[in-house]
């Protein structure tokens, strides 16, 4: 059994009325990093995950969660 990483960045972004580019600028990464994290193509580092959590004012586990796949 392997685990994937699910995320709710799009939802948080919508709540904050932000585009990917605006979020990227806010946490100091490129837009491509945000878009690839959102679609699950890129697993972010702990630093990026913590920056996102800090920016949205939410715990990391509310933004990211493990999905078990067989």
């Amino acid at each position: 059994m392997s685990s994937g990483l699910d995320n709710r960045i799009r939802v948080f972004r919508a709540e904050h009325r932000m585009s990917q580019g605006e979020l990227a600028d806010a946490i100091g990464v490129s837009r491509k990093t945000i878009s690839t994290i959102e679609v699950g193509r890129f697993v972010p580092s702990t630093v990026i995950a913590l920056k996102l959590a800090k920016f949205f004012g939410a715990p990391v586990e509310e933004i990211f969660s493990l999905t078990n796949t067989k």
């Binding site: 799009r10 939802v11 972004r13 919508a14 990227a24 100091g28 837009r31 491509k32 679609v39 890129f42």
Partner: protein, 165 residues
């Protein structure tokens, strides 16, 4: 490709890595031409040498302006210009590992060939081929991993439903 005036440090760093990969691809072609020159006729060899010179100039034009801008950003301590965590930096590291592995295997093959059937080939030919393979694999795998560019996704109707707004 040509950065905007409002380019952030992270965007510039991504562009620098992209330009580096393109430069490495050019360098791989230069090494391939250099290796081929040893077996080419005089006329063809002189054309190849000229092509190598042109590619070397293009390589500098491609990389130096972005490198200078990145150094300027670092001096000004702009955030994100040394972003080792981003997607592009991560794919560059993966491509570098592929390039190194290819180079290592190519070196072992070249070592065996230089002792046996290709013993009369000059050592520089083997070195040029190994370097061309190493840089070629690195740049192509990096450029392939970064070829898709999704448009900036704004918040939309689907998200309003998702959030219950």
């Amino acid at each position: 490709m040509f950065g905007s005036k409002n380019e952030t440090g992270a965007q510039l760093y991504d562009r620098f890595l992209l330009r580096s990969a393109l430069s490495m691809l050019m360098l791989a072609v230069v090494y391939t031409l250099d290796a081929s020159r040893s077996f080419a006729a005089d006329d063809a060899a002189s054309i190849m040498k000229r092509a190598e010179g042109i590619l070397a100039i293009l390589l500098m034009i491609n990389l130096l302006p972005v490198m200078a801008k990145l150094m300027w950003f670092k001096v000004k301590r702009k955030p994100g210009c040394n972003d080792p965590d981003g997607f592009v930096a991560s794919t560059f590291k993966e491509a570098a590992v592929r390039g190194f592995s290819t180079g290592f295997i190519a070196m072992l093959v070249a070592l065996e060939l230089s002792k046996g059937p290709l013993a009369d080939w000059p050592a520089t030919v083997f070195l040029n081929i190994v370097l061309a393979l190493m840089l070629g694999v690195l740049s192509v795998s990096f450029l392939l991993a970064n070829r898709e560019t999704e448009p900036d996704e704004d918040f939309g109707d689907d998200l309003d439903k998702e959030t219950g707004a």
